[in-house]
């Protein structure tokens, strides 16, 4: 999205910050700097600078509303201090009572997605149908085309997933290569069994 280029803006930064505040209050999903720039009629660099001002004002401990960078954009949420009060009034249907099967399926889709139900079943060793249906209903995953070989529907995680788990993007997920040691352990144990069988 290309915002019109402005060499000298007559609009001071704090004025732009107010506009951004207003846009974020109306929005129900995180807005990217490009979207904010488009709506405010300003350029992305200035929007990012103004977001700094907004973030300074709406931060944890200072305000009941907090600006956060989440799911590839910027959004307001309630402060953590107010969480208890919020929980008395509001439910969190998307993440309530997530089963172990659903979480494992969600992890597979988040790390390996887009992937199909057979892909998930192959890793977990059991059919993934109900877990996938459950995550779809919660809006944590969505369809993302079909696989090239078998034509199975593939799934990816949604922006809602990133938002609920407080992730700026999927790349904010921790790397999982750091558990190599235990993989080695499994390997050694299996090799020991294999040697016994051939002997």
């Amino acid at each position: 999205m290309d915002a019109p280029l402005r060499l000298i803006s007559s609009n001071p930064l704090d004025q732009l910050a107010k506009t951004i505040e207003a846009l974020l209050v109306v929005a129900s999903a995180p807005l990217s700097p490009a979207e904010l720039a488009d709506a405010a009629g300003d350029d992305v660099e200035r929007v990012e600078a103004a977001l700094g001002l907004v973030g300074e004002r709406y931060r944890e401990g200072r305000s009941g509303i907090v600006l956060e960078h989440v799911a590839g954009g910027w959004a307001f949420r309630a402060s953590r201090e107010a969480a208890e009060a919020c929980s008395r009034l509001f439910e969190k249907p998307a993440q309530r009572n997530l089963s172990q099967a659903s979480l494992e399926t969600l992890a597979i889709v988040a790390y390996l997605g887009p992937c199909s139900r057979p892909d998930i079943a192959r890793i977990r060793g059991v059919a993934a149908d109900s877990a996938v249906a459950n995550l779809l209903e919660r809006g944590l995953i969505a369809e993302a085309g079909r696989s090239e070989d078998a034509g199975a529907i593939r799934y990816r995680t949604t922006p809602l997933f990133e938002r609920i788990f407080g992730l700026e993007s999927l790349s904010a997920l921790p790397r999982l290569d750091d558990i190599g040691e235990s993989t080695e352990e499994i390997r050694d144990r299996l090799h020991a069994v294999a040697e016994k069988r051939t002997a």
């Binding site: 129900s28 953590r80 494992e104 890793i123 069994v193």
Partner: protein, 250 residues
């Protein structure tokens, strides 16, 4: 009716049903080659022949055919355990370790997600469908009434008459040659067709020949030709001719 004695005539197998089952169970017949639907159709046809519905036979058939279908369905899917079994123990261990490691990594990831859910559980935010984006207006380009009038005037003008001249028939009428031949034959009783045609175009020659045939039909002339491609000689018949026929153009 005895289901086991149901005679089958399939591409892959011919004989009674129980023999088919025996062969399948002994792995001597590949289920993938077997058209199960054809067996069902054979049974239904047989069932149709009987006056009364044989419930016992139908029940027995249902049990057997569903077992067969299940066997076939299983056979169509790759057997992961068998794939593993085909590997050398070393390779199988390697493959198992890889799968276990992959699953273990995903279990770790799931655990991370659960921890994350606990730590981020106190984040509340607004959720809902986004308000609709405003409709983009598409204004018309600036308009001028004069230009509109010009264009309308252009449309109102009667179009020029389209000339059909090029579609006119270029054949000269046969009557022209009828008259010509008659005029010549009035002076001479015998003429040579070719010598009359010397300064004519190909199309005119063809029409002239039609005129000649017309004269022949009317009995005004006789035509002679000694051999193919020899000169065509035309002689006047001295019979009184009648002008009762109508002239036709080609």
């Amino acid at each position: 009716m005895i289901v086991r004695e149901l005679e089958l005539d399939l591409d892959a197998f011919e004989g009674p049903f129980d023999l088919l089952l025996t062969l399948v169970l002994k792995d001597e017949l590949d289920l993938r080659d077997l058209d199960v639907a054809a067996i069902i159709i054979a049974f239904l046809e047989r069932l149709d022949d009987a006056d009364q519905l044989d419930l016992e036979a139908a029940g027995e058939f249902l049990v057997l055919i569903s077992a067969l279908l299940e066997l076939k369905a299983r056979g169509l899917f790759p057997d992961e355990a068998a794939e593993l079994a085909e590997l050398e123990p070393e390779e199988a261990a390697e493959e198992l370790a890889r799968r276990l490691a992959e699953y273990r990594r995903m279990k770790e990831a799931a655990q991370w997600l659960r921890d994350r859910l606990d730590s981020e559980g106190d984040r509340f935010f607004r959720l809902g469908p986004a308000p609709l984006a405003p409709k983009v207006e598409q204004p018309l380009a600036p308009q001028s009434p004069e230009r509109l009038a010009d264009v309308l005037r252009l449309l109102a003008k009667e179009p020029a008459q389209v000339s059909l001249a090029h579609m006119a028939l270029r054949f000269p009428p046969v009557a022209q040659f009828l008259d010509r031949f008659r005029a010549v034959l009035r002076k001479r009783s015998r003429i040579d067709f070719e010598s009359e045609m010397t300064d004519l175009s190909r199309v005119e020659q063809a029409v002239a020949f039609l005129a000649l045939l017309e004269l022949r039909r009317n009995g005004e002339v006789t035509i002679e030709q000694a051999a193919p491609f020899a000169p065509i000689r035309i002689s006047r018949t001295d019979v009184e001719r009648e002008d009762s026929w109508t002239l036709r153009s080609a």
